[in-house]
């Protein structure tokens, strides 16, 4: 079922590569936006020095030390961008997901009017849904670590050896990751439900997403895990390539840039494939029955 969903999803994506391009272009655009307030002070500091040449090779931490110490004027601008641009990016991704889900749910090929129109059409609902999801998200992120801490205290008291805390720390990381991805899945399937049924009750959508994810946990989780693993493999490949691209040479740097962007494009491809796969999984499962069983629909 998982593989089938992925294959279906990938077929859908191949027919609609323009969705991937749109996601990628916005990622690139926002990357450029975040780069500009960084590049200007760097250029001012080292643009006419030997460091401006040497740093084309391996990174020199003396640069970082002095940049942090002497470019203090630039740091507020950088941090202002760092706090605002990602939020706008998040909202934009949410916006675009409406169009993407709509195309995958209907099984149509990409039509700009439909894509942008449905992006706009669902945006308000997705925002409301997002707000409703925040408590779920917080609960999944914050409660498991507290639980781990409580169990530690119960078994080993208030002063456990550091090995307990260390492995407990890893357990917390794993649980927080799981919590994060569970919330993401709930949000995804809730959005799919909204698009498929033109639903306007967001709490109902959230509940559907929640029930769907947990009643089909092996499938929903398996699909997500496959995408995550694929992402990690691509990241490792990227790092292996980037590690050897250290020569201080313009061509090498251009090549590094292309590899980076290729990697980001893959990430976007994976994300859109996940959307399509999730739609396929949702449509091939008995979501309706889940709702009927829960008494929300009659």
């Amino acid at each position: 079922m998982i593989v089938k969903s992925i294959i279906n999803g990938f077929k859908q994506v191949r027919r609609n590569m323009r969705i991937v391009y749109i996601f990628y272009l916005f990622n690139l655009l926002f990357g450029v936006l975040l780069m500009l307030p960084f590049r200007a002070p760097v250029s001012k500091m080292i643009g006419n020095t030997l460091w401006g040449e040497q740093l084309a090779g391996r990174f020199d931490f003396n640069f970082l030390l002095e940049f942090l110490a002497y470019s203090k004027d630039a740091l507020p601008a950088i941090s202002a961008f760092l706090t605002t641009v990602p939020i706008v990016y998040l909202l934009l991704s949410l916006f675009l997901s409406g169009g993407a889900f709509s195309i995958f749910v209907t099984g149509e090929t990409f039509q700009p009017v439909r894509f942008w129109g449905d992006s706009a059409r669902y945006f308000g609902r997705f925002i409301r849904l997002g707000l409703f999801t925040i408590p779920v998200f917080l609960a999944f992120i914050l409660l498991p670590p507290l639980l781990v801490k409580g169990i530690q205290r119960l078994i080993w008291g208030s002063d456990p050896y550091q090995n307990i805390l260390y492995w407990g720390g890893w357990l917390k990381v794993i649980l927080r990751y799981s919590g994060f991805y569970l919330s993401v899945m709930i949000f995804d399937y809730a959005r799919i439900y909204v698009v498929e049924n033109d639903e306007s009750k967001m709490l109902l959508a959230l509940k559907t997403g929640f029930l769907f994810v947990f009643k089909n946990l092996l499938r929903t989780g398996g699909l997500m895990l496959l995408i995550i693993v694929a992402g990690i493999i691509v990241l490792i490949i990227y790092n292996l390539i980037a590690d050897v691209l250290t020569l201080p040479n313009a061509l090498v740097i251009i090549f590094l840039f292309l590899v980076q962007q290729l990697y980001m494009f893959f990430r976007m491809l994976l994300r859109v494939t996940l959307y399509a796969g999730e739609v396929s999984l949702f449509q091939n499962s008995d979501a309706e029955e889940i709702l009927l069983a829960s008494g929300e629909k009659a």
């Binding site: 990622n27 690139l28 926002f30 990357g31 975040l34 780069m35 960084f38 590049r39 760097v42 250029s43 500091m45 080292i46 643009g47 006419n48 020095t49 030997l50 460091w51 401006g52 040449e53 740093l55 084309a56 990174f59 931490f61 003396n62 640069f63 030390l65 002095e66 110490a69 002497y70 641009v85 990602p86 990016y89 998040l90 002063d159 050896y161 550091q162 090995n163 805390l165 260390y166 407990g168 720390g169 890893w170 917390k172 990381v173 927080r176 990751y177 994060f180 991805y181 992402g231 201080p248 313009a250 740097i253 590094l256 840039f257 980076q260 990697y263 980001m264 990430r267 976007m268 994300r271």
Partner: protein, 690 residues
């Protein structure tokens, strides 16, 4: 001196001059005393594990080696720094030391119950608390004892002191208790140093360590029988008292402090380095880092002995502090140091190694060379930070000697410079420990800045001279109390030149060192046309007419032909195009230091210049058949005190290639993190316990 390893075999059991009835015998470590042995202690101490109390009986034998008649003594009661929130220590620290705090009710104290002459005369009523450094009448860390009979030059006095002490909880500012773990430092009534005609006995401050005279210590510590004990000196015997306690007898010679630790949980790891036995006392949850601790201690012992001179003691004990007791970590005592780590500390984070090498280094720069850490703390911490930096680089490589993980490679020098360039000018280095502008200023001026001063000096004098300087300073001043001027005198002598110009700026001012290449200009020289030319550079240039005098060259140049070129020689049509190049170097800080300048031309020609660095700026001009490419001042980055390396060079052409590389890497990370914000989760999660 007896050779160390054999010394531990206790070659003789002699009747001692400083006997108490209980302590009738003691071993001898050194046949001939290595130090003047002015302050000698026999202490019996019983530990109350539950109440964290110490009950002590101390016999002090103090010798007057001064030419003065002494009619009062002064003592430190360091633990009273933790007595209440009004002590000078607490007022200065706000209750926080190295980011550690005591528990709400974790106060510690020390009380002299009785102080008597060995003749039986009770002097307890003569105790008078004094505060030589401030007006804080609540501070009880120093007391004066007027004597009924004065001590003549060459005379001595014996005092019997009963005291009760409570250790702070958890360990705070180096000393204290946490449940079953005890680290006991600064714990007994300790006599000050009579020097330069007066008592040098400062209060306990947030930013000060210690100063004491050398002597012999015989200490019997009574602790639960299952406890393991580590202490200054060598263990002579352990007596089981049959009441659930055991008494551990330690003996130390030619040391100026005594600290000990005890816990039933210690796991021992032993080894040796050269002729020194090393004993590591690990916590159970760090036991698999025991070998790591041992190896770091071996590195410390071997480098220090090879570079600076003999560590005369037979042994070294390294203590790993208990979890939640890190306030006792990273500290030095004679033959006993404390370190610190956490469970599964990655090998690439060499914090335990650095701390152990650093703390062992104090056995040279605080213990053997016993400078006054109250008044001139840099002599210990600063010189030691220099040694630490050198050993880290020599042992762990120049690329990532401190941190080598996930491709991030950072050296001790990076950390030292990071700390220094943030606050280079708050104070001079030489200052009393509690008189710096801030805690941060104390830290910068006693650790990284003096280390960078000495590294700069080393690059100026050369490795061989610097090594000789350090060895001479150590050999000449071990078992003595040197001052800053003594270090400078040794430096002048060994270097064979007056270095006062350097030390005056580096140690006694807040001068900042910063040289920069301010301008680089290169221009094609226009050929003059018309009558009556005896042309010079002045005519040839349309701009910068005020800046184009050929400077008097006090310089070394490998291209001497270029400077006096005139345009006359260019009149032939087939002569190559000539270029006028100008380099302006500026001294941006007050610190004056001779610098090397490297000027590089597009055809690969390199001109090396030297400038004494005294004036505000220096102009260099060249006429060559090639354009200037760039100029750098201090091209090899030898002047580690320079607060800005990035302005040490200037290129004629803008170099955007490095800027672009940084920009695309930054952009990629931003693209990645925007799309994968959960990635941060990994770091936040791991940083919890790593």
């Amino acid at each position: 001196m007896i050779h160390k390893r054999s010394a531990i075999l206790l070659i003789g059991v002699l009747l001692c001059a400083f006997v108490t009835p209980k302590l009738s015998a003691q071993p001898v470590i050194f046949e001939q005393p290595l130090s003047p042995r002015i302050a000698n202690y026999n202490i019996d101490v019983r530990l109350d594990v539950e109440k964290k109390l110490l009950f002590g009986k101390e016999r002090l034998t103090w010798k007057n080696v001064s030419p003065d008649v002494i009619d009062e003594l002064q003592f430190h009661l360091y633990l009273n720094g933790f007595r209440n929130n009004q002590s000078t220590f607490m007022q200065e620290s706000g209750g926080s030391h190295r980011n550690f705090k005591m528990d709400e009710d974790g106060w510690g104290f020390i009380k002299v119950d009785k102080i008597m002459l060995d003749s039986g005369v009770d002097l307890t009523g003569r105790i008078e608390f004094i505060h030589p450094d401030d007006d804080n009448e609540f501070d009880k860390t120093v007391f004066r004892l007027s004597l009924p009979e004065s001590i003549p030059p060459g005379g001595s006095i014996r005092l019997d002191i009963d005291f009760t002490a409570k250790l702070p909880q958890p360990p705070f500012a180096r000393t204290g208790a946490k449940d079953e773990y005890f680290f006991v430092g600064q714990w007994f009534p300790k006599i000050g140093v009579y020097i330069d005609g007066e008592w040098n006995c400062h209060q306990f401050h947030r930013n000060s360590e210690f100063f004491a005279d050398f002597g012999m210590y015989n200490v019997r510590m009574t602790v639960p029988e299952d406890n393991i004990v580590g202490a200054t000196g060598i263990e002579v015997e352990v007596t089981n008292n049959g009441d659930g306690t055991a008494t551990h007898f330690y003996h130390a010679e030619d040391v100026h402090d005594f600290a000990w630790t005890t816990s039933p949980e210690f796991v021992e790891v032993t080894g040796s380095a050269q002729d020194v036995d090393i004993r590591v006392l690990m916590q159970p949850d760090h036991v698999n880092q025991g070998e790591r601790y041992l190896e770091a201690a071996q590195v410390g012992v071997e480098y220090f002995q090879n570079w600076y001179g003999d560590y005369p003691f037979p042994n070294l004990t390294v203590v790993d502090p208990r979890r939640k007791a890190s306030g006792s970590g990273g500290m030095e005592y004679p033959t006993l140091i404390t370190a610190g780590t956490s469970y599964r500390m990655p090998d690439g984070i060499r914090l335990p190694e650095m701390v152990i090498i650093h703390e062992f280094g104090h056995n040279y720069w605080y213990h053997l060379v016993a400078s006054n850490e109250f008044e001139e703390p840099w002599l210990d911490e600063g010189i030691n930070s220099y040694s630490e930096n050198k050993i880290m680089a020599a042992e762990y490589g120049l690329n990532g000697d401190m941190l080598d993980i996930f491709g991030i490679k950072l050296n001790d020098t990076h950390f030292q410079r990071a700390s220094y360039i943030g606050r280079p000018d708050l104070d001079p280095i030489v200052k009393k420990a509690w008189e710096y502008y801030s805690n941060g200023s104390y830290a910068v001026n006693n650790y990284p800045r003096p280390a960078l001063v000495l590294l700069t000096l080393e690059n100026y004098l050369g490795q061989e001279t610097m090594d000789r300087l350090m060895r001479t300073y150590f050999e000449r001043w071990k078992f003595k109390h040197p001052k800053t001027q003594d270090f400078i005198d040794v430096a002048n002598e060994v270097a064979g030149q007056k270095l006062d110009w350097f030390f005056d700026q580096a140690l006694f001012t807040n001068y900042v060192l910063d040289y920069s290449v301010d301008r680089v200009i290169t221009k094609k020289i226009k050929k003059d046309k018309g009558y009556d030319f005896t042309l010079s550079v002045e005519h040839a240039l349309e701009e910068d007419s005020t800046e184009n005098e050929i400077p008097e060259q006090d310089t070394v140049s490998n291209d001497s032909a270029s400077e006096e070129t005139t345009i006359d020689s260019l009149k032939e049509e087939d002569e190559p195009e000539m270029y006028y190049s100008l380099v302006k170097i500026r001294r941006l800080g007050e610190f004056q230091f001779p610098v090397e300048i490297k000027v590089v031309f597009e055809n690969g020609d390199i001109v090396k210049e030297k400038w004494d660095g005294r004036d505000y700026w220096k102009k260099l001009e060249y006429i060559k058949p090639t354009k200037l490419a760039y100029a750098t001042v201090d091209p090899d980055e030898k002047i580690l005190l320079d607060v800005k390396f990035h302005n040490n060079s200037k290129t004629v052409e803008t170099n955007t290639i490095g800027v672009n590389k940084l920009a695309i890497r930054w952009m990629f990370w931003m693209q990645f993190l925007m799309d994968q914000p959960e990635f941060l989760n990994l770091f936040s999660g791991l940083s919890l316990r790593l």
